[in-house]
Symmetry: C2
Subunit: 177 residues, 2 copies
Amino acid sequence: MEGLDSVTIGRLADRLGMSKAGVIGQFRSKEKLQLETVDLVMEDFRTQVWQPVRHLDAGLPRLLAACAAWVRYAADPGYSGGCLLTQVTYDYDARTGLVHDRIAEGRARWRDSLRRDIDVAVAAGDLPPGTDAPQVVYGLESLAAGITPARLLHGDDETEKWALHGMHAILGLSSMK
Amino acid sequence: MEGLDSVTIGRLADRLGMSKAGVIGQFRSKEKLQLETVDLVMEDFRTQVWQPVRHLDAGLPRLLAACAAWVRYAADPGYSGGCLLTQVTYDYDARTGLVHDRIAEGRARWRDSLRRDIDVAVAAGDLPPGTDAPQVVYGLESLAAGITPARLLHGDDETEKWALHGMHAILGLSSMK
DNA sequence: TTGACGTACGAACGATCGTACTCTTAAATC
DNA sequence: GATTTAAGAGTACGATCGTTCGTACGTCAA
């Protein structure tokens, strides 16, 4: 068992030196615990990826900086086992329930954030006209999420470069001057 | 619980109308059952994706046909819940053990298969010279794997088109005449 | 006919899961 | 100082997990 399912009441109680009853008293149920965990994971993502770049100029500059931070975070999130956001995303995509919904909401916010910068970049002429923002966002997401299995399953150590290269191609930057 | 972990001895016994002991008598342990399941998943993938295109000319023609079949399979694998290969990949990338290793082996074979066609395509002048095959393979993998969460988490129904577009960009086809 | 072998059964095991209780204890409020 | 509130311990529950027994069947070879 791995991922969110490995965060169990009993294990958490052990780790905290508490009783199971004490843990379940804090969170009211397993589902609440999972939801709070998902919130923490997303908060960490935003802190590590969005916070350092949010002050940059909207549009291509901030978009590229965000992609770089994103890819760096996925390749080395500061803990072992690979990016937790990727983990919970692929863990809960096929399920139903509040946890699935919470993850979808968080990802939707990130998608919107990216899409806005793409639109600004297109309007500014920094990205090719006619750029399909949702399609580009899909590409960025996928290339970032591919880092985890490439690293952990195949031991690839160039994933950060690969992902960034791919993102530039998706953005159509290679065909612009 | 979802994915490979949801394939449990007791549940399987129920489904088959057998006793748990009968099931565990067939497979010798849970791990063996998981390994055989992974083999089945990969066999299905090869049947649906590789088999229809393997007779095509090596190089770009077969590569593009494989990508199309791949993306179609990921978007509609013929069962509910999203591509099982993607599922087990992201489920077991951070674990250790025989199941993790088996998945890595299977994926490595698929990677090699793609890389060979890429090399042939480059040699034939159908792909840009200097193409970094492992990097391109990484991009194709990621774009295919992104389909599942996009469909199941966000309800995207254009993932097949998006993934294929992205693959062409990664391959550098848009910049060639 | 006998024996070996494979298949499947029912039952039980120790773990662990999430959750529901009661009881103690310490802090906060009046 | 008395009273209310809340945190946490302790215990128990029903499920389910993977696994291991002993046993009852077949089938097939000797």
